[in-house]
């Protein structure tokens, strides 16, 4: 008798229960996904919305069409999934960042949920996935010396921020020409809120009142993204090309503004005030290429963002936007093949990523570059897997009164695959 089953094993149950507890715990004690002072501008630092596998490949994902996990980097990338399997993925991220400015040093730690995705092949030519991922993150905590205009005295401003934009999406992909061409679209909603709090510490400088200036921004809108992938084989060599596009979109925004001091609940209050021309998502387009031969994979991405067409309406901020690009890629290899012991089936990745920043602070670039490593460890009999990616990132610079960041970022993901759509066969 040839026998397969759709029943979850006890081990899988335990893991899912653990993940559920983590999720609940995270909601209760939510932290920020970044500690970067540069996240105080705009809607914060844009996150890499990707699977942890891509995080180990220099954040390349446009031309990847995996069979064993859902790639959200390209809406067209889900047509290569197994038609009998339901896919579930949850990711967590953590980071330790060291900040340097002038002669100051600080070390900060944070972490958060990095995404939840599930999906399947609905038909032979139609793939579908839904999920959630942070789109941007605001999280900073630093102090700043400022001069009092008209005097030589200085006082300390404490800048803190938290929150970010979230993105929920529904990806659909349709394949043509015997799966050689795949077109995809992502329909999603983007929403979020973030706080910017400026605390002027006058108690030390002037023996005066501390002032708390809190702004809470709320933004939302629909978000559409389009993608395609095309591939062909030459012998055992597979070549895949991909592209993605999304257009500029203004976020509907409002804010609450509360100014208070040590002795008064509020000196100024402005509630749910809408404002125009504040936050946008830029037009972006990118292309990727992947070469695969047996267990070896090479992939590279290039993405261009038209930030230059977005004006920073916060005229008093020292930030201007400009077009920027991101380029990253990596290689993946594995010693074994299906049926080998698990340690032979472990996949290893290494990658590199760089990007000139889309914002200039005081006309200076805040570039970032990173070296990435990754690994996929198979789990159990049902092709579940545990993915871990490490990134060493450098952002910004110490000169010109700016801040240099060096981060150790870790992403962990759990891929759970269940053969919900497999049928029992009896010979």
């Amino acid at each position: 008798m040839n026998y397969t089953t759709t029943t979850m094993t006890g081990k899988t149950n335990k893991i899912l229960s653990l993940l559920f507890i983590i999720l609940i715990g995270n909601v209760a004690f939510a932290q920020n996904s970044t500690v970067s002072p540069y996240s105080m501008y705009g809607i914060g630092l844009l996150t890499h919305r990707e699977h942890a596998t891509s995080a180990g490949l220099g954040h390349a994902s446009i031309a990847l069409a995996p069979k064993d996990y859902i790639n959200i980097g390209n809406p067209a990338a889900i047509n290569n999934l197994d038609s009998t399997t339901f896919y579930f993925n949850i990711q967590l991220s953590g980071l330790r960042t060291r900040l340097k400015a002038d002669y100051e040093r600080a070390s900060l730690v944070s972490g958060n949920i990095d995404g939840i995705t599930m999906g399947c092949r609905v038909t032979k030519w139609w793939g579908l996935a839904i999920g959630y991922a942070p789109y941007s993150s605001v999280g900073y905590n630093y102090r700043e010396k400022r001069y009092i205009y008209g005097s030589n005295s200085q006082y300390i401003i404490k800048q803190t921020g938290s929150g970010g934009m979230q993105h929920a999406f529904l990806n659909n992909a349709i394949s043509f020409f015997n799966k050689h061409l795949s077109l995809g679209a992502s329909v999603g909603a983007m929403w979020g809120s973030f706080n910017r709090k400026e605390t002027a510490l006058f108690s030390d400088a002037l023996d005066g009142e501390n002032i708390y200036n809190l702004k809470k921004y709320t933004c939302n809108n629909l978000y559409l993204e389009y993608g395609l992938q095309f591939h062909f084989n030459i012998g055992e060599n597979n070549f895949r090309f991909g592209g993605v596009y999304n257009n500029k979109r203004k976020l509907l925004s409002s804010y609450d503004h509360i100014v208070s001091n040590d002795f008064s609940a509020q000196l100024f209050f402005d509630d749910e005030t809408p404002f125009e021309e504040e936050f946008h998502v830029p037009t972006s387009y990118g292309a990727g290429f992947t070469y695969t031969r047996k267990k070896f994979l090479f992939t590279v991405d290039y993405k261009y963002n038209e930030w230059g067409k977005i004006k920073n309406s916060k005229f008093n901020e020292p930030v201007t936007f400009r077009d920027n690009w991101k380029c990253g890629g990596g290689i993946q290899f594995s010693a074994g093949k299906d049926g080998d012991p698990f340690y032979k089936r472990i996949q290893y990745r290494i990658g590199y990523y760089m990007s000139p920043s889309y914002m200039l602070v005081h006309r200076h670039e805040i570039n970032e570059q990173a070296v990435t490593l990754g690994m996929t460890v198979p789990m159990g009999r049902f092709s579940n897997s545990f993915i871990i990616a490490y990134e060493y990132l450098k952002r910004g610079q110490e000169n010109f009164g700016l801040i240099e960041e060096k981060s150790h970022n870790i992403k962990v993901a759990f891929n759970i695959r269940e053969g919900w759509f497999k049928k029992h066969k009896f010979d």
Binding site: K11, R146, A200
Partner: protein
Amino acid sequence: MNIRLRAITVALSIAISIAFISCSNDSILVDTIFANSGTYTEYVDQTPIELATFRLDSVQTSGRGTVWIGHHKKKVIGDVYSQSYVRLEVEGKATAVPHNQTYEPTPYLFDSYDWAQKEKYDSVTIVLYHTGAYQGDTTKAMTINVKRLAQPLKFAENEKTFYNVRTFRDSTSIGSFRFVPRPHSRPRLRYRLDDSFGRELVSFIKANKANKTDVRDQNFEHFLGGIKLESGDDAKSLLAFANDSVRIMLHSHITDVDKIKITRKLVVSDFTKQFQFNSIWTENEDSPYDCINHRSEQVNEKDGGQHSVMFEGLGYYTRINFPTIRTIADHSYFSHIVRANLVLYPERNGYDKHNFPQYFYVASVNKGNVSPTIDQGHAVLKTVTTSHGTPSIAKLHNNLTDPNDVYYTIDITNYLNTVIASGNIDVNEGLVLSWSGVINSADYNFMIFNGRTKNKYYSYLELYYYNYDRENK
């Protein structure tokens, strides 16, 4: 659990630790403008203020513990005179001491009204003790006249205290003496009064020998309603005496087997202490402040020689006006005052004592120089407080390298913010300075402040505004 799951569990634990348990609040200090968020703090030191001098029509000088007698010529103010009124009563027991046992306790104590048959009158004297405080030239001799009040020294109806403007004119002299003050080396003064008064006092004692105590006290009150102590025309200084040290001593003796000296005392008791008060006035037609007759009248600094005066004994107070309070309020629409300091420069030679006082208080007053809180018609003013609820106190700052650079700062942040927040802006409201928490104390303090119109070492208001930004709507 197989080795794979163990490895995964360990990795998961590490990831959870990083992501959820570890958390650092360490923050970095940036030395330059990084955020430039549109908020800023500015310092404004040119906010105009105006000093003025007003005078309370009467100042409480009773119950202050000090008898001020004499005359002194003060800078700006002119001639200042003070005379003092004291009420006495008969001490219960007379002291009888054998003349050869001066320091031994005596068994011969008897009621002060028990005038013995063989007792002979000797003399009557007055005793005063210097507190050490004085104004003017104490090397010059001065005369003190002691006068007897015919009418009892009592509170007027519906009046708690005597004021500095009150006088009792129907008085007769019972003695005078001339002396060189030397307040530090010779604190005790004892001088003989007229014998006619002494003999009159003996007659009163004899007449009341058989009366009950309350009748005696009532009769004494009409016999001697009080005494007035005033200086003669030769006085060049003002002297302070402890009010409970004033006493009149009646000396007599009995000649029997031995000669026994007897002393009866008219003293300031705890009860009569409250009736003592000083009458202080000034005479100087050239003084700009001489024309102030009512508390609602004031002399601005431009008419007062770019000065204001603070002299509690005479009821002169320095008032601070804010002629641009509306501008300050308008400026605060998008900002908040995080610190407001009044900087007041006293004139270096405008204070009599060696060192400037370390602190004084500030209170709020309206156009008529009346406080928002009036205590039963008396000039009890509302002291300005800090944001913490404690009284705003002027603090003295010394510049060791420049003796003229001595000034006071007063935190009036809470006062200005409260006025602005109320929306009830009145340019006629102002502040008044006081040496003590109670505005109408009448210690003999005197100080001159430099006005805003002086070229150097002028008083001013410094403001620190926190300007907060607003989004573009």
